[in-house]
């Protein structure tokens, strides 16, 4: 579904991603792990289109999307969520989600008809809010939500675009254990209709969800494969997992 070939990016003298080759198959949850500064978020930016590639190609659904703009990739079914929550804070939860639904359905170059009268948008937004566990909060301003709820909205915005592949950049960042469990359950539910590329530090979550993993260290892929393969990979253990998994 998604194929990266030798994708690189440097910022001045710093190599953020270094000839990354990666395949995400349809229907899988593919985890991208690696220590801080490994280039995971840069890679997500390059796949989603907010960052360019210095060299290499990105193919999505058998089309070369390397030069497509981010909004064009979203239209093709490739959406992302952010590690640092990026929502419309002064909009209500429902308006946040309705905007994302609006972006996908029909033209937004409509200047006269009140959007509030488009029941379809808000019905779908409400469905997504339910799915995200935010049904009690639809009227609340996004800024007033608790951290975990904002993270849920963050992921909800990505899902509202009805992606075929969703890039989740540390969806559980800063979440308490209970909220994390809820997010893990959510990803477990959506995986039946959406392919997921998951960046996550919570190894418990990663090994519960992932069909396959790719390990990124200093911008390079050092291993890729099934969870058992990664767990026992000597280089991965040394570079990253340490005792966490051995225990």
């Amino acid at each position: 579904m998604l194929q990266l070939r030798d994708v690189s990016k440097r910022f001045g003298g710093v190599v953020a991603t270094d000839k990354v080759t990666l395949d995400v198959a349809q229907g899988e949850v593919h985890a991208l792990i690696g220590p801080n500064g490994a280039g995971k978020t840069t890679l997500i930016g390059q796949i989603s289109g907010s960052l360019g590639v210095d060299s290499g190609t990105i193919r999505f659904l058998d089309a070369d999307v390397t030069r497509l703009k981010q909004h064009e990739r979203v239209k093709a079914g490739l959406a992302r969520s952010y590690q640092i929550t990026s929502i419309f804070k002064r909009f209500s939860v429902l308006d946040n989600l309705a905007l994302a639904v609006q972006a996908r359905s029909g033209s937004s170059f409509s200047f006269w008809h009140p959007v509030a009268k488009e029941a379809g948008l808000f019905d779908e937004a409400r469905t997504i809010a339910d799915q995200m566990g935010l049904s009690e909060k639809t009227g609340a301003l996004a800024a007033t939500l608790a951290h975990g709820e904002q993270r849920a909205l963050e992921v909800g915005l990505a899902l509202a675009t009805r992606p075929k592949l969703v890039l989740l950049d540390e969806p559980m960042a800063g979440m308490g254990p209970e909220e994390s469990q809820r997010m893990i359950a959510l990803i477990g539910r959506i995986r039946s209709n959406v392919t997921v590329l998951l960046v996550e530090h919570d190894m418990d979550a990663v090994f519960r969800l992932a069909d396959r993993l790719t390990v990124l260290v200093n911008g390079r892929v050092i291993a890729s494969g099934k969870p058992d393969h990664i767990r026992s990979h000597p280089e991965v253990r040394r570079a990253y997992l340490g005792d966490e998994v051995a225990a």
């Binding site: 989603s48 909004h71 905007l99 972006a103 937004s108 006269w112 009140p114 959007v115 990505a158």
Partner: protein, 321 residues
Amino acid sequence: MKRTLSVVILLLAFPLAMQWLGYLFYVSFASRVMIYAIAATSLNLVLGYGGMLSFGHAAFVGAGAYVASILVAEGIASAWIGWPAAIAVSALLAWIIGAISLRTRGVYFIMITLAFAQMMFYLVNSMKAYGGDEGLTLPKRADLGFGLDLGNELVFYYVVLALLMLCLYALHRVVHSRFGRVVVAIRENEARVEAIGLPVYRYQLVCFVIAGAAGGLAGALLASHGKYVNPNVLHWVQSGTLMIMVILGGVGRLWGGVIGAAVLLGLEHLIADHPIPWLVQLAPNYQQHANLGVGIVLLVIVLFAPQGIAGLLKRRRGAPA
């Protein structure tokens, strides 16, 4: 809704009352305020709703003023030609300036819009055929036809009032439409709008063009009102004045531009034409420094009412902002 209705009724009755009292000057003054209100409202769409800090809005007002004036000077006095032409040229100009400026952000956007407006300022300064730096005096206001004489202050007032109401209604519709939601969302979080699949640049450009077009209409009216236009209408000070009106009145508030224009021009008029005796004794030529007073008011608003006067009025009613 009730309040809007009472404001409209007040505005409808105002010139009749002034005529009855014999203060026809104030009808003309109110027309000028409403023209500036249209200009400030158009800037508010870009600045307040769109979050684009355009410091060159006078370029569009000025282009509209010059297009309409040149047509009148060339013998094409019909408002039905002059005003749409002013709107079209300003829209085109906004499209060109916007297409380039909107590729930049932050301070660069402010500077590049300012630079374009100043370029326009020097361009009309050099148009010797149309008065150059001395400006262009028109023989009369535009012709509206239908037996309506725009030379009559009352007729002119009602035409401007109708156009202002049209602009406000259009702004109200636009900001609540799909397009308007996107524009406001871009102000709130540009990266996220792109990430949900909307081309930010295109929406900003269309928004910029709509505002430029409305600015052009204000310019055409301004030229007709004074039967005179000079390059200062494009000067950066004019862009600054429009910005101050928006900030005073209320950034991203429907009535922000109207309130800002009324307060700023009203204040200027009060300071210049109604000397305060004790202040004259204290500072004999304080009236030549009207901007100082305006500056103090602006400072107070920015510090204590960042939502402008419109926001202040709303809060006092107890409604959520």
